[in-house]
């Protein structure tokens, strides 16, 4: 089990880097609009109407962004949390924790792509 993690380590760090860039460049505005501004009515009802949002999200570029950004952020978060646990002295549970975190990132990736594909 440890051997597989070691083999995949470069892939995890690549996804970590890509996810960090996605999280810094795209996530703040996306999260602010979808989780704060739209629900609180700071954006006009026409702008966040179902038909406009569906049209934005369901075009090919929208689907690609909405599938890739959360997926990459999940992988970034998984790798970051794994090393957060190591910083806190939880090295003894590194292997099972790594499998759990990367497994959740994989599930998040599948959910992101399934959600974008279902539009």
């Amino acid at each position: 089990m440890k051997r597989l993690l070691q083999v995949l380590e470069p892939l995890f760090w690549m996804l970590f880097g890509l996810g960090g860039v996605a999280a810094a460049l795209l996530l703040p505005a996306l999260f602010f609009c979808l989780a704060i501004a739209a629900p609180l009515g700071w954006i006009s009802p026409e702008a966040v109407s179902f038909h406009r949002m569906y049209a934005l999200a369901s075009n090919p570029l929208g689907r690609l962004v909405l599938a890739l950004v959360p997926s990459l952020v999940f992988w970034h978060a998984a790798n970051h949390l794994r090393h957060f646990a190591l910083d806190l002295g939880l090295g003894a549970v590194d292997i099972p924790l790594a499998y759990a975190l990367y497994g959740l990132a994989l599930l998040g990736t599948l959910a992101s792509f399934a959600g974008a594909a279902a539009l």
Partner: protein
């Protein structure tokens, strides 16, 4: 093959006491901890996309559901995401301000301008689209 370094260095050692009392460690470790906030933010984006796929009534219920106390929690997550973005730029600037192969090191002010400019432009672009100013 390794060469003996010219500069003598002290062996690495952990800080005395708990990391919280050391500002440099605190910032570093809290930065790693933002992974949890990023995962929450990404999960909410996924949920919004899935709700859009369920129809207009589900989308309206989603907006109304987040208008209550959840907005305060989301505001906290948003602060964490923004702090992560700014802290991540610092890491990026450090990582890129060294010579890479035959390429010379880029000046730090240029790296700052490119990275901060990219962050502002991309987030502004998304906000303008979402607010209905463009598209």
């Amino acid at each position: 093959m390794s060469e003996t370094p010219l500069t003598r260095t002290a062996p690495a050692r952990p800080p005395d006491g708990f990391w919280v009392w050391h500002p440099r460690y605190r910032s570093y470790v809290l930065f790693a901890g933002t992974g949890l906030l990023l995962a929450i933010a990404a999960a909410l984006v996924v949920r919004a996309v899935r709700v859009l796929g369920e129809g207009a009534a589900a989308w309206q219920a989603y907006l109304e559901g987040l208008a209550g106390p959840a907005a305060a929690l989301n505001a906290l997550v948003f602060v964490g995401v923004v702090w992560f973005a700014l802290r991540f730029l610092r890491v990026g600037i450090k990582a890129l301000s060294v010579p890479i192969g035959p390429l010379p090191a880029l000046p730090q002010p240029l790296l700052w301008a490119v990275q901060v400019g990219g962050l502002v432009v991309m987030n502004l672009l998304i906000a303008l689209i979402m607010f209905g100013v463009i598209l």
